[in-house]
Subunit: 436 residues, 4 copies
């Protein structure tokens, strides 16, 4: 197999689409991206050098990670690079072109736990690049995001004529970029699990920053320069541990984890509404596997809270912790919780929004530019954006329209691939505009 450096964005995206890897198992993706960026002359920060390993959330267990690494090796991940992602997937690449500003661009790489449609009118199935892994699918366009990241890298790598694909935008007449381009390839965006870890190294100290997303309900040719004000959201996993007993012979000997969980479910839904903002709470993935004649010794559940107000999120989280510990106390059991996903809300900076809007108006294939809109989903790029802003930088989150037949996260999701070139062109023009 030729490396990605020689292939068109469409080919790269389709290869990634066929090999989806869910959060924290993006071994093949990371290795191929690293190999390509190395060829393109970028300085690499791989795995534990790209993110704070301890800040990762919702990491699968070791067996699952090992199986995923093995699968990646079998599916063509270059061993030389694969070995460098032992601690974690994820990477950052940078290349300096002069003394100008440091500009960060973040894309994400993970797939979803969805089984892709095999119906004939689903293009990936018809054209042979559907997921080869039942239960995993690029159903949110992150395959495209990764390809876009490589396209941007290539656009700035210059000179290397043979690397340029036929489809690549080439803004010949632009002034050259005189700053440093830093590309973040983030793992585990789904479930809001990877952004926090990636925001915890010095690499995030950039002057300008943007993240992007394909689709989001908009047609190819539309660009939203500033999507912001998403719900802050936190996802928590809880496990009640009690003591089993035969429910007929000695019920008093048990400590009933299921009763505690049931009390917790009612308490969580009963958390108060908040005058400071919209609040949401929901519970799922409840499982108490005990047989009906045995007092439950372990019951697990997950919940998430959301709000457009940071204080309200904090109040809900504190309230939820009280509910869980109180429910455990009620029934004499223990409870352990861990945060398995988290994203804040954020606001895009005007300067970056204008920069992107200007670039988009000049870009090929763009027929509609929306300056600002509400981002109606949670997004863990929020951690990176807020870290940049806290340090005095400016940031935005860009929506790249990409027509598709089915909604995000659905088995028939797909993206119109022309949007890949649009995205590369918009971002490339934006970066040049920021640094010349």
């Amino acid at each position: 197999m030729a490396t990605y450096a020689d292939r068109s964005l469409r080919e790269i995206r389709r290869d990634l689409h066929a090999h989806p890897e869910v959060g924290w198992t993006e071994y093949r993706t990371s290795a191929l991206v690293a190999e390509t960026l190395d060829e393109l002359g970028y300085t690499l920060h791989l795995g534990a050098d790209a993110l704070e390993v301890e800040a990762r959330m919702g990491v699968p267990d070791d067996d699952d990670l090992a199986a995923a690494r093995e699968r990646a090796a079998e599916a063509g991940a270059p061993a030389e690079y694969l070995d460098r992602f032992e601690a974690t997937t994820g990477l950052v690449a940078e290349r300096s072109f002069g003394p100008g500003p440091v500009v960060g661009v973040r894309v994400d790489m993970d797939a979803l736990p969805v089984t892709e449609s095999s119906e004939a009118d689903h293009r990936p199935a018809r054209e042979g690049f559907a997921s080869r892994h039942p239960g995993e699918m690029h159903a949110c366009g992150h395959d495209g995001h990764t390809a876009i990241g490589l396209g941007i890298a290539r656009a700035f790598a210059g000179g290397d004529a043979e690397m340029k694909a036929e489809t690549e935008a080439e803004p010949e007449d632009e002034e050259p970029f005189d700053g440093t381009l830093r590309l973040f390839f983030q793992p585990a965006e789904e479930g809001l699990r990877g952004g926090l870890a990636m925001s915890r190294t010095d690499l995030i100290e950039v002057d300008r920053f943007l993240a992007l997303h394909l689709g989001l309900g908009r047609e190819t040719g539309t660009v939203v320069a500033g999507l912001d004000r998403p719900y802050a959201s936190t996802k928590v996993q809880a496990r009640f541990e009690g003591r089993s007993a035969h429910a007929g012979n000695e019920p008093e000997a048990g400590r009933n984890a299921l009763q505690a969980a049931a009390a917790a479910v009612q308490g969580l839904y009963g958390l108060p509404r908040d005058s400071r903002g919209v609040t949401r709470i929901n519970v799922g993935e409840v499982h108490s596997p005990n047989a009906q004649n045995v007092v439950a010794d372990a019951t697990g559940l997950r919940y998430e809270v959301r709000s457009d107000d940071g204080d309200a999120v904090e109040a809900l989280l504190a309230g939820a912790e009280r509910v869980l510990s109180g429910a455990a106390r009620m029934h004499g059991v223990d409870v352990a919780t861990s945060t398995v996903g988290e994203a804040a809300t954020f606001e895009a900076d005007d300067a970056m929004v204008e920069a992107v809007a200007d670039a988009a108006r000049a870009a090929d294939g763009v027929d509609r530019v929306i300056e600002r809109d509400r981002l109606t989903a949670s997004e863990d790029a929020a951690h990176l954006i807020r870290r940049v802003q806290d340090a005095g930088g400016t940031a935005t989150y860009v929506g790249i329209g990409a027509s598709n037949a089915a909604g995000h996260h659905m088995p028939r999701f797909d993206v119109e691939e022309a949007a890949l070139d649009v995205a590369v062109d918009v971002v490339t023009r934006t970066v040049r505009g920021l640094g010349s």
Copy 2:
């Protein structure tokens, strides 16, 4: 009014019936009993000398106690004695007849918060001795118990011919009693509130002990020499305290005591059954007075647990405490609990059962003697009985049949007064048999 010393048991019982006093307000009853026993030559231990004041449970508030004292004074309680019950109602009287054993007999004096029937076919109403206090009634026969206690005292007072009523049993041919008779007139048996306090002084150090009860579903003429194995029972009052807030404008500022109470109610009823014995739990007297547009800042409730197994009662009580503190924690509120009633289970001693059975077989008016049966209600004489047994004494609980039309605690409850004399005769013969 002549003192009780000169009146028949029937007259005494009817006077008490007309002036019912609920638990810890038996001021008139205590004062009249004290006056009578003083006249009969008994040594008196009154109020704080008869019980441990701090161990009383479920005591009404000071205003209610003051009002009850005032009412007692107006209704003929002799002032000289009334003044000696300032700290608490209740008394113990004793008289020694020789070096023989100390024999204790306990009767109770309190009424119930029930309004007596005024229907013409209800004898107390028809004959003019129904309760003069709406909302209070001797609906469990304690008026009769008090009269019986006085009858026993009189039977042993001897010599004082003029004190003996025409109806009194006179076991002429019995050998004289050569021990000490100690009579316990207990307050606040209803709700299991007074027995513990009365068991906490040295007066309970007796060699032989019996308590008795009229009725309990048996006809006049039947005597049960050993009623035992009642449910142990504990009654608890709880109060959740949170923080009020306007439920429309700032719901997040509240700490909802009502939600905590609702969670507690569900948790209490969900306490596990127990393989060691029968268990019961129930909740009542729940009150959350907050308006529906204000987050509840205070909600009260009461509950009781029962079991025929002591360990199971302990397990239920511990479980209930966990439920309450956990429910409070769930909703960020505080909870305070206090025990407002308590009774243990107990077993009657064979020696005392036989002594009573022998006496009953010889007594006037007894046509059926049952040796042992289950006591199907909770009874706080348990505290006294177990204290006696723990110190090496023996005890029993005696059922004195008394035909009545309506069940205990009902507005039409009454007792056949012939049973009063039966009781005095059975107990008097028992005591003589123990001490000669």
Copy 3:
């Protein structure tokens, strides 16, 4: 006592303040108002002629109503008029001045179940017009509203020079009003209990309509011409009825109303949030009087729901009904509910807002006019406003600033009485402007 027709607004307000009457017991108030308006030449619609008796909500029981009538008679309510409020309190008065538009003005008359402060620095206490009825107080300014209604009536009654108080505004140079003035004196606004009934007669068919409120956090001299978009709110009373049983002896024979209520409380607080608007739900006034050893046979509770979105209110109410009936079903008990208060949301019409704003700018004592603001409380004038609007009329809700030291519904609430004249002047000018 001279009739109100001869007294200043301040005197009237103070007399009303001293004789507060909670909702549906405004007998003295109604009778005095009727007497005064009769003297001023208005046509009267009294009691059952002024509102639909069956549509009243949250009416006290007959004993309470009878006691209130008796109290009113003793406190100077003119018997001739008092007799005409047998079916219900509340009245409408009208007077026609020409063929012009029918203009409706609504004031409310009821007090709150609050005990007024007796502290010396509370003016009503200091100056001797504090509430004579413990537990009842004009703590929301409806005494002032009633006085304002009479002031408006008097302003248009004309000719009768002797009736005009010294403080009354006299817009001498205005054109005369050529329409019909219809004044609504509504009972039972607190708890949202009377507005619906008053909106159910033909009298509400007016062309222009306004309601008003003193205070609401604004200083004397400020007028808000259009307060609107209050939360819609519905208040519901529920009673669970089960079957009592002795909790120790036969727990299985009970049907536990308290368990049903506890499940309902949890279910109510767990009703889903709504993307269509702000939602609120709260529960209070929970009472389960059963003793802790008796299975609860009856438990009552109240709840209220609110939202700024009508569909969301409907969804909450439907959800709450499901919760209650389901909770009853869970525990084998019955449940009955009744709506005890209800108000919709509404929007003020631009034409009326402008008319009031223009009048306010010209009125004496007004130094600040706010055109529109959010009404942050629920208000059952909503029923009348929406009925007017549905029939093609226009309406607004006017805020009359009135400095006061303590918040509405508090024991130290008071209003600066200068605001009474401001209100009469603003409304009088508005009406003249509408009908000339």
Copy 4:
């Protein structure tokens, strides 16, 4: 492989032990048993002829059944017989020896969903006959029961000398049996799923009946002639079905099956205790697989109730149905329930208890005979026993001691195989005694 007819009970038991089949998948077992009994000259009633197919409970889905059949075929189930269990597993065999009474004997054949221990000191592992199917194990001795059933069949088959194993008891000096022997090989005893179906054909119309069980905590050599009064028990599966919705974007559009299930769990544990007998209730196997950001559209749970009093079981079941339907109603979802297991209580008949006790006293290897004891587990032979008794027959349930190191249902359970011969001897002697 030689047929079971030629093999010792130990060999048969070990072959069965190595090939455990959980309830309703006993294809290999049924086919081998059928083949053997056919060879022994018994008349066969196979599959749908042996039980009422529609009355089976807790049947696995078709895929699981098909896989189990295929596995049975691969593991040596004779095809000729395997084909006759298409509708269901289970069989009845009979043989008549004269005009005497019809005597029924029931054994069960199913394994448990337990993974057997592979530790060297676990005899089946050490000696090579441990379960070949991970997740399935004969951990309750039904392999032994099946072997015993065949041993009894062989003992009465007579004449066929070559079929008798060396270990078989041979009561030479007994009178010959002159009645009809009917052997019930029941599937799916675990979970109480098969007994009801097997009690629903005319085959159960027998004069005398016994079922038996190995182990139950007693040593080899002990026989209990009458084990009875087990808890009645019913196991129910419930599924709440609601409507999913995105919990962040449109929570009000959901119908939350998980909230309903949580309410149900609390309601089930809160069902009242019962004065008529011991009651038990427990919930397990709760699963709500929805992601935490999606309103749950389906949640499943199982529960079981038990009591030693039939009326109390009925009350609990009725109460549980109310709880489930009420919880569903509370949250606007549907609920469907199905009974997946059921057993009644029963009492052994004196005549049968005596017959077994007499036989046991005469049997080889029996050193202790207990006449009667409480059966402390639920047992669905109850359906057959009660059906026999309702038709005028007599029955008992026999305990055959079998020393074993680990408790029933544990991964290290085993039985001392000498008990197999004891069982055959006791039953054979009992049957002969009944029919001669």
